[in-house]
Symmetry: C2
Subunit: 473 residues, 2 copies
């Protein structure tokens, strides 16, 4: 049973400006919000602190924690070859990667994450178990979408199956779905804050049968759906080649898109695609850092908002966003789009950005009716920011400072499902310094590591993407 708290004197944003309130947390929920409340349970002094609902990191890949700073400057399809070649096969590193990702999320304002998690081949259940162990230990709310595919790497490239002799994917669609069901029955535990979601990696390496099987599992077990969508121009070309049209329309026909579906990236969409996302109430998860790092493009976020498509923010994995700071994603993901529209009245304000990160994020994982706003009766996923932190001074507009500044260690306290998991900036259930020591060894510099698979793919990629044959790298 979580403890009871009275947060006293917290600044909260209201329609016009700010006000100062007390907030009671009782039995996991926000029990009361008022100007002055009797102190019940633990008193938390929130003088000079800003209280906001927790944010959602709507898309990440926790094992890539070990690939931070490792991968060269490459577009997704070639970067992916390096990522696959350097992925960890160590279950302890899976656990530590999830731990690190959860800590980064909590200390940057997130109370919930969507881990699109690539299992270690032949150790699929053990991989999920390692991540679940970490998330329970830290106390974050975690969606785990095991990344599924039933087609080879070659299938993910335009003309890939014609020209690339890469090994086929080793499991059948039925085997992949059977594993997925085993994961669901073993690990899906919403009351503990651990949710399994169906996560086909993306249409580019998944058959229609795999998508259909995921839809069936999602319906039967009431699970969220998550996938990569049209992250690159190569994927846009591939969809035209494979379906003779739009990947979004194809997923729509397969019944994959609904109000429990979140779609990572969603960069190369046309107007009719956007209308489908609005109609199906699907959520776009915007990963601006990764989209720049991989040269994928600028997602049409202002168009999504104008069309009524729900947009959340994500960090993406550390191999393509070498930091895992949700506030950084929120900042860049809001200001980036100002250069796409001269009509400044369309620009995303800092207040809109925090609504996208909280309400929008929880809507994307189908929990917005229970969590994501400062409302009495909602489950208490709350974050308290220290406004006396140097990175938030001098004090002007606190939400503008938080979103447009570069807060460093400004998170004072975090509650997840009413449980205080961060207090005074310190993780409560994990020894942060011991975790840091664990990461210190071995401290061996990797410089421009050379991985083999890219050499099988690069010439083909350059041909299909109309890049000159001889690079000068």
């Amino acid at each position: 049973m979580p403890a009871t708290y009275t947060i006293c004197g917290a600044l909260i944003p209201i329609a016009e400006g700010y006000t100062t309130v007390d907030v009671q947390i009782e039995a996991e929920r926000i029990g009361a919000i008022a100007a002055s409340l009797p102190v019940v349970g633990t008193l938390v002094d929130a003088t000079n602190k800003l209280l906001l609902p927790g944010f959602v990191n709507g898309h990440t890949h926790s094992p890539q924690f070990w690939q931070r700073g490792l991968i060269r400057q490459l577009p997704l399809e070639l970067w992916l070859a390096d990522v696959f070649d350097s992925s960890t096969r160590d279950l302890e590193k899976i656990y530590l990667g999830a731990l690190g990702t959860a800590i980064n999320t909590l200390l940057s304002g997130g109370t919930c994450l969507m881990d699109h998690l690539l299992p270690i081949p032949n150790y699929e259940l053990e991989t999920i178990a390692a991540a679940v162990r970490a998330y329970k230990e830290v106390g974050i709310r975690a969606f785990i979408a095991p990344m599924l595919q039933d087609q080879s790497f070659a299938a993910g490239l335009p003309e890939g199956m014609k020209s690339l002799a890469l090994k086929p994917f080793p499991l059948s669609t039925g085997e992949v779905l059977a594993q997925m069901e085993a994961i669901i029955t073993q690990f899906h535990e919403p009351e503990a804050g651990i949710y399994i979601a169906v996560g086909p990696t993306g249409f580019q390496r998944c058959s229609d049968e795999l998508f259909a099987g995921c839809v069936e599992l999602s319906d039967r077990y009431n699970l969220c759906r998550h996938t990569h969508l049209l992250e690159t121009k190569a994927q846009y070309k591939l969809a035209r080649e494979r379906y003779g049209g739009s990947a979004v329309h194809h997923l729509y026909q397969l019944g994959f898109l609904d109000d429990r579906t979140s779609l990572a990236h969603a960069i190369w969409l046309d107007e009719p695609d956007i209308a489908i996302l609005a109609e199906t109430q699907s959520t776009v998860v915007h990963n601006p850092l990764s989209n720049l790092r991989l040269g994928s493009g600028i997602a049409p976020i202002l168009k999504y908002r104008q069309a009524g498509v729900n947009v959340a923010f994500g960090c993406d994995g550390a191999a393509s966003n070498d930091a895992q700071d949700l506030l950084e994603s929120i900042k860049l993901g809001s200001i980036l789009h100002n250069v796409t529209d001269f009509e400044y009245k369309h620009w995303i304000t800092p207040r809109a950005a925090i609504a996208m990160a909280s309400t929008g994020g929880f809507k994307g994982v189908n929990l917005a009716d229970q969590v994501g706003s400062l409302t009495v009766g909602q489950v208490a996923d709350l974050v308290l920011y220290d406004l006396t932190n140097l990175s938030l001074l001098p004090r002007t507009d606190p939400v503008q400072l938080l979103v447009l500044g570069r807060p460093a260690q400004a998170v004072d306290s975090v509650w997840v499902q009413g449980r205080r998991v961060v207090a005074d900036g310190v993780m409560q259930s994990v020894d942060g310094d011991r975790f840091r020591q664990t990461l210190l060894h071995p401290a061996q510099e990797h410089s421009s590591p050379q991985f083999p698979m890219i050499h099988q793919v690069e010439a083909h990629y350059r041909t299909v993407m109309d890049l000159p044959e001889c690079g000068f790298r």
Copy 2:
């Protein structure tokens, strides 16, 4: 006389990978770099630390320190109305703003900044004196370019002089230049690390005579030249209206462009303009955060690099980049351009980015022959980063982690002109906590402050920029 140091066991990047060296600092300069050196002076243990040359914050406006988080989401021309309306007129705040900007720069890897400083009217010399006091106290290398203009706000807008009834600029060109010369003779003191530069604000509010006068002062006193250049589409339109052609060509004809000239923003340039920058060896200072925040555009940085134009990084003022973190500018300023060119072999690598920030930055202020690289004989502007900081773990490629990650408090030590101004992450000559306390009061939330001047300008701006007459804000 600065002290002598032996930095022992520092990791430094070399052509292939990294190596570990000792570095001696003697009489302001790098005295020796070798695998093993006798300890002279103060021993600095650099085990698990990365040593790099200091970076240059090539463009900022220190008084905007007080406008962090304050200004709404607006394009430059309207934002500027709010900025002018909310600029500080308090000399103590000028001093504290310069102090804060210098601290932010040092703790994010910079040893030098270019402060394009708007003096308080009628207190021009006092304004410069306040900033100089702060920079000397902190011990940063500072260029101060007093921001000069001799035309009104209205002149800076297309058709502005025709349609806008704003008050004319109160000083004549001669008066402005006389003030500038007084500032030079009183404050230009290179041996103390304080350099005055000529800084006409931009062609949009400066006459040809003012530019000519600045060129003459620059030549006579051997000063750097600094100006805003073609930051917005409105400025591009204005140049066509005023000169019948390119602002770059016009500045070239005025003799303003040379290898001591740095140009902030440089977004709306055509191919012939780029050729002029290359020919004159001018430097572009890239301010990516500000350019997104104000919707100004994405500067064609990859084209500049291909044309041989020197590019440095800047933060710009805190009213348009509410953080002042140089590493954030370097990160965004390198990855942003990946979406502008599918040829990934053109993308800026982290190693190229740190060269732009150090060598490129010092070239922009005409000091690259003396400072900006890890070379024996160069003046010691050096920064040591702690690789055991959680934000730089797990250890993969240290330079990739530094540039592509989100380092928080990773700066261990900073030397400027051989003087250690940061040690163990702590400012040596300024009490950081006392500074923070100074900023705490008054802590009054400002929410959506309403400033008057924008109402005189917005309708005109919307008309000349072809935006619909009735906004729906």
